[in-house]
């Protein structure tokens, strides 16, 4: 079996626009959650969020592709920025990077040109909601006096010489919102012509996307892949949906940094976020031959479904435990060889309890691993959440440091949560687990490369 390693990390999070910023933020022990600033949310009970700092997408694409940034929804922009960070950290001279550096001969030392047909792209995505402001600016051109939409003038001009309502939408409007456009834009910028997929399984998307891309490398269909997931839920429709689903805490508006308390006895709900990550994963021999920095090795993967209705977790923890055990058995290791687990840890009491049930079915032995959930730091970024978790796992192994459990001051019974970075004992394996609202589970087991 071909071995697959992680050689590049790019991320977008409330802590910044790179994986280094993200890691530094986690190590600081302070939450990235603040007041919800992306729009006026005064009409909602929860008004806090993890917001990515301002950026210009055109700074992250080669000149020849700047025009295309006009047809990128926020989720796509996040993926483009994360992918830029990933290929830079992997020193992968994709077409986009060659253009940025002004030609193959101008590449810094250590950068390697890759065969585009051997590079895949697999980026998890959410349901990208149309920008409300943009859409409504067109809808009002075909409104009835009672504020309903006039379908007739939406479809056809009311009088000759005028425009129909729909003509107020840019012709390429639909393309901004197709979930596969995260992978498609990234694949064009970096010229990745290998297998390309878009997994849309909510918060489990990134791990499942990594799984699928890893399998294409293992079976020989590709040597390298850009993988991950990105999403922004920090828009009015996202906040409306998650409010109605009663996922959000409503007690943290005065103290956003403390709003989401994952795996904590005082947890009262999660918060919305935006962000995600793109990683470069690569066949081991290729990575070694080009002298790449190896952050971690992908040791085992698991997936399962809860079979429960939306919004209800698998209270037994059984299905998640199955996915975790699958990852362990693929890696041929026992539970006592895991030093850190990063579970979903939304800060929603019932879901957190299910996470711990699952962990206990897998890890009953001593010494107990550290358990660190990141939603208190970043919020729930939908398809981006597990991508951030995987980056944290890779950084933890690379830096041999367990990040602190931000906002888990009074952990639920039976788990060890560090309150400060831990560097005392070696880290060999880190297990990342995610569970979507729709019941898809994904586990990724990383190990220190040796």
């Amino acid at each position: 079996m071909r071995r697959v390693v992680i050689t590049g990390l790019g991320s977008v999070s409330p802590f910044g626009l790179s994986a280094e910023d993200f890691w530094r933020g986690l190590m600081s022990g302070k939450s990235g959650i603040g007041p919800l600033t992306s729009f006026n949310a005064a009409g909602f009970p929860s008004r806090v969020a993890g917001i990515v700092p301002p950026f210009r997408t055109s700074d992250y694409v080669p000149k020849s592709y700047r025009k295309a940034t006009k047809i990128m929804a926020r989720d796509i922009e996040l993926a483009v920025v994360a992918a830029d960070g990933a290929v830079r950290s992997a020193r992968l001279a994709t077409r986009g990077m060659v253009e940025v550096f002004g030609g193959a001969q101008a590449l810094p030392t250590g950068w390697k040109v890759v065969d585009p047909t051997r590079v895949g792209c697999n980026i998890g995505a959410g349901l990208i909601c149309a920008d409300l402001n943009e859409m409504t600016s067109a809808l009002i051109k075909a409104r009835n006096p009672d504020s309903s939409l006039n379908l007739a003038t939406w479809g056809h001009p009311a009088e000759p010489g005028k425009t129909s309502g729909m003509e107020n939408l840019t012709p390429l409007w639909l393309l901004k919102y197709l979930p596969n456009m995260l992978a498609c834009h990234v694949s064009i910028i970096h010229d990745t012509q290998g297998p390309s997929n878009t997994i849309t399984c909510g918060q489990a998307s990134a791990g499942l996307a990594l799984t699928e891309a890893c399998r294409t490398i293992q079976r020989g269909n590709a040597d390298v892949a850009l993988v991950g997931g990105c999403e922004s839920v920090t828009h009015p429709v996202g906040l409306m949906r998650w409010s109605l689903l009663k996922r959000l805490t409503t007690t943290g508006n005065d103290d956003p940094a403390q709003a989401c308390k994952p795996l904590d006895k005082a947890a009262s709900g999660t918060v919305i976020g935006e962000g995600g990550a793109v990683l470069v994963i690569e066949e081991l021999e290729m990575a070694r031959a080009r002298g790449a920095v190896i952050y971690a090795e992908i040791a085992g993967l698991g997936a399962s479904a809860t079979g429960q209705p939306v919004g209800q977790c698998d209270a037994t923890g059984e299905s998640m435990a199955y996915a975790m055990k699958k990852a362990l058995s693929e890696a041929a290791i026992g539970p006592d060889e895991i030093q850190l687990i990063i579970p979903p840890g939304y800060g929603i009491p019932a879901a957190d309890a299910a996470d711990i049930k699952a962990i206990h079915q897998v890890v009953s032995s001593r010494p107990q691993p550290w358990v660190v959930a990141l939603r208190g730091a970043t919020g729930d970024c939908g398809a981006g959440s597990q991508a951030l978790d995987i980056v944290a796992a890779a950084m933890a192994l690379h830096q041999q440091t367990v990040p602190p459990g931000i906002n888990t001051l009074h952990p639920l019974d039976g788990i060890n949560v560090p309150h400060a970075p831990q560097t005392n004992s070696p880290l060999h394996h880190v297990l990342v687990a995610a569970s979507s609202m729709a019941g898809q589970n994904s586990t990724v087991l990383l190990k220190k490369y040796r």
Binding site: A41, G43, G120, A125, G126, N133, M135, T136, S137, L139, R143, L151, A152, G155, H156, M166, L169, P171, L172, W173, L174, L175, L178, P179, N180, M181, A183, C184, S187, I188, H190, T192, Q193, G194, P195, S196, N197, T198, I199, T200, C201, G202, L208, E212, N221, P236, M240, L244, L245, A303, S304, A305, T306, G307, G311, S319, Y322, A438, G439, Q440
Partner: protein, 437 residues
């Protein structure tokens, strides 16, 4: 040693009907499922017709549990399609005696299902009434306050593309690896290919796979109309979709679901299942060209087709029939023809190719699944469905498109192509099952 992957059950809900045999009979008679839109008032839209699933009602059996109350149209299609497939495969109902039951963790799901429609009237009315004319922008405070009282939590979350898999997981007690991919029009071909890979590597014994989608709603038609991708031949809906014809002018939106039961050969044989066909090849690629256009020489399509052949250890001469992506747009059909010629060389002229989108429209994410089922039925009956509405040859499309009339033929190996908006391409090769190979 990888597992062989066989198909043991199939089901579909389509614009041409809702049973395997009824739809197949219509396809092979060249019937059209395309007609004026009834799901909303589209009379003033640039395109006024589509291929709708007619009078769909969710079967009673799905209502009892109360778990599927607020499902989307496409999820409803998928439940019925999956029920047909599960029944044909002879798999035990949930709650069957334990001797017959399959380990739920050995049953996975891999769908290429699309996101569902917004709740159109509440959504547009709430948006319009929250517009601040003076500031010329949406007042999000107004919108938020209203929206929380207007929208229904379940109907909102049911729009997520992963919800179809959630409902199949509950209905069939499938707890194994569960995926939904949404690679536009290539999604369910990709789902079938990747589901087969999951069985090949032993991560599940049974996969419920395929796709479901409906974009026949005002914003769906708006989106494609703005892209000028749809045929606007409003006077003649049943003749509007003309794949490979010189007068083709765009695709026709369809809706529906196709679900197949894939199974490890040993598992199927052990329970003496009736084996319908075998999945032997899968290829996937990206154009990496433009989000608005296919690569003009079909670069990505060529790679997907070649990879599928390599995966199946086959030569172009081994392929008896190609079920084309064949959307009926100017661009797709000539590019696809070019790609087939590039891979097949002189043999391209010998292979019959047809597009059932000429009759059932383009089921978008679900298209690949119904086309895979069509391939299995073509093998079963030695019958090729036609490309309907073919009249005027196009010099850029000069292959054998099985024009207008179904054709009896020896069919052992079929290829099915799907190419998505944005440049993701997938090809699947399905073969007549033979124990020896």
């Amino acid at each position: 040693m990888r597992n062989r992957v066989v198909i043991t059950g199939m089901g579909w809900v389509t614009p041409l009907g809702e049973t395997l045999e009824e739809v197949w009979k219509r396809l092979t008679s060249g019937e059209s499922g395309i007609a004026p839109i009834t799901l909303f008032d589209a009379r003033t839209f640039p395109t006024t017709f589509a291929a709708e699933v007619k009078n769909f009602q969710l079967p009673e059996r799905f209502m009892k549990s109360g778990r599927h109350r607020e499902i989307s149209r496409a999820t409803g299609f998928s439940l019925e399609a999956a029920r047909q497939a599960w029944t044909q495969a002879g798999l035990p109902e949930a709650g069957a005696p334990s001797a017959a039951a399959v380990d739920p963790y050995q049953v996975g799901i891999y769908l290429g299902s699309g996101d569902a429609a917004l709740e159109f009237v509440p959504f547009t009315t709430t948006a319009i009434s929250s517009w601040d004319d003076a500031a010329s922008r949406l007042d999000t405070v107004k919108w938020g306050t209203r929206a929380l009282g207007v929208f229904n939590a379940l109907r909102e979350i049911e729009q997520e593309p992963c919800m179809t898999a959630n409902h199949l997981s509950m209905e069939f007690n499938a707890r194994g690896p569960t995926f939904n991919c949404l690679t536009a029009c290539a999604a369910s071909t990709q789902a079938l290919g990747e589901a087969a890979e999951i069985i090949r590597r032993g991560d599940a014994q049974v996969m419920i796979s395929g796709g479901a989608h409906s974009m026949i709603h005002p914003f769906g038609v708006t989106g494609f109309n703005r892209l000028t991708a749809l045929s606007t031949l409003n006077d003649n809906p049943s003749r509007a979709c003309r794949p490979f014809d010189a007068t083709r002018s765009g695709f026709v939106i369809g809706e529906g679901a196709g679900v197949l039961i894939l199974e490890a050969l040993a598992h199927a044989q052990q329970r003496r299942a009736n084996i319908l066909a075998e999945i032997v090849g899968y290829g996937s690629s990206a154009d990496a060209y433009r989000v608005t256009d296919q690569h003009p020489e079909g670069r990505g399509a060529v790679v997907a087709i070649r990879e599928a052949l390599r995966d199946a250890n086959m030569k172009p001469e081994d392929i008896d029939y190609i079920n084309a992506h064949g959307t009926g747009t100017k661009e797709n059909d000539s590019t696809e023809t070019q790609a087939i010629k590039t891979v097949f060389g002189p043999h391209a002229k010998q292979v019959p190719i047809s597009s059932i989108k000429s009759m059932m429209g383009h089921l978008i994410a679900a298209a690949g699944a119904v086309e895979a089922i069509t391939c299995v039925l073509a093998i079963r009956d030695g019958m090729l469905p036609p490309t309907a509405n073919y009249a005027v040859p196009d010099p850029e499309c000069d292959l054998d498109y099985v024009p207008n009339k179904a054709r009896p033929a020896k069919v052992d190996v079929t290829m099915s192509n799907s190419f998505g908006f944005g440049g993701q391409n997938d090809t699947l090769i399905i073969r007549r099952f033979s124990n020896s190979s």
